[in-house]
Amino acid sequence: MSDTDGAWIETALSSARPQAVGALLRYFRDLDTAEEAFQNACLRALKTWPQNGPPRDPAAWLIMVGRNAAIDEVRRTRKQQPLPEDDQAISDLDDAEGALAERLDGSHYRDDILRLMFICCHPDLPATQQIALALRIVSGLTVKQIARAFLVTEAAMEQRITRAKAKVADAGVPFETPGAVERAERLAGVAAMIYLIFNEGYSASGDTAEIRKPLCEEAIRLTRLLLRLFQSEPEIMGLTALLLLQHARSAARFAADGSLILLEDQDRTVWSGPMIAEGLALIDKAMRHRRSGPYQVQAAIAALHARAATPEETDWTQIDLLYGALELIQPSPVVTLNRAVAVSKVRGAEAALAMIEPLAPRLANYFHFFGVRGAFLMQLGRHDEARVAFDRAIALANTSAEAAHIRMHIDRLIRDSQPKVPNKGTKGAKAK
């Protein structure tokens, strides 16, 4: 077996994982048992696939082999120490045999995978634990890989995942097939969790972007999977489009020294054409449903940026309208703040500034607010006030990357607002 063969098998195992673990979880109703069964099946696959070639349906193979391995394990244990008669795993085995006899039809495994994803979104779990758990049990990343992406030690991540698993087990996994309303709720929860995974990777600073990029890729893989299972959900189309359109810019987002490059300064020729094409196709398809939602609107905004070959061609009027729509669906001061940036392009900094002033009490600790406010003030020539806003922004920055981002903003505005430096005496005076 060559190394490349090994890589293909790894890929096949990881793409079959959500379906296989989801089905095993349904059979055994215990996450650890399901994961262990899947692990055993993978070990066997690594032994036999190189010789026999991959099976026609890798997921079905892994479910079958994993299930049998787990049953053997239970039988072995039973010989050593008798299990109580009402033991859940044993009584479910007959059901499992029957269930496996029927073909793994789409509707069945749809709910298996959704359930597997959904248990990671338990509301009691903080966002970071949801993400870590999903990457571990749905994506099958190793604890080491996840720890690396989160920039924490392996031991710390191990502990975080163990704690999250315990909480999920206590909460009880919802095994009944969901009704329409519940399925929609689960979908919304899972979509939000996938978006969290993406943002965890996307919000990385330049020096860690490469390490965290797998998080973005994994989020895209999961949202594509979700969309294949729920093909008529415009919001899932919107989410997939949004992630693709944002991730398409990844090669252009950071300078060689790791500093962030603003959207309007990015080299648009290195944006990923295929990802943009897919994102645009998906948002186009989603809009036909005329059932708008926050992911679709955000994707539509990203699509307008993606469509502009140069920053000057950006359709800010449309972006302003879309942010207006987003404000209605999902009112938030941050959305209004983003809208104000579009407004500044369409109607000028004065109107934009007036729009964000009422947000001040709610965004008093939000560094972006002061960054944007400073930018507007700078455009209006109110340089002293702008400086105060920028200093406040830097003081509020959570990371050095955020601070660097604002500093770059300052540098840029200073540069832009002083093109007249050589003729300061004449034009500068006239401007006043």
Binding site: R224, L225, M237, A281, R288
Partner: protein
């Protein structure tokens, strides 16, 4: 005789390829394609976007549009068109027009990601 060679694979699997794996495969394919092109034998080559971007139009009256790829196993692939369209709505309109001319069956409408017109005249 012209032959169409239609590509089937597990999308989940292909979609899990890393950029490097994908490029490796495409490079190997390009070698074969270049040979055929230099012989003047290769017609259009298209790589379709994932099935998640597809819609299916059942050729009924009125036509029924469903999200997702064509999923029936009782009908067979009999032909295909490549049409330049503004958007999915536009493409579905074209499909509807074709469907009205030849009712029964279905059209799967899928955006083309990569298109090379080829060397055939």
């Amino acid at each position: 005789m012209l032959y169409a060679i239609l590509c089937y694979h597990d999308e989940d699997f292909v979609g899990s390829w890393s950029k490097e794996q994908d490029e490796t495969v495409m490079k190997k394919l390009a070698v074969v394609q270049e040979k055929l092109t230099s012989q003047g034998r290769l017609g259009p080559v298209a790589r379709l976007l994932p099935t998640t971007a597809a819609a299916t139009l059942r050729k009924e009256d009125p036509p029924l549009v469903l999200d997702g790829p064509y999923a029936e196993t009782k009908e067979q692939l009999l032909g295909f068109y490549i049409v330049d369209c503004q958007n999915l709505d536009d493409a579905l309109e074209v499909a509807g027009e074709l469907g009205a001319a030849n009712p029964g069956g279905a059209y799967e409408v899928r955006p083309v990601g990569v298109f090379r017109p080829g060397a055939l005249k």
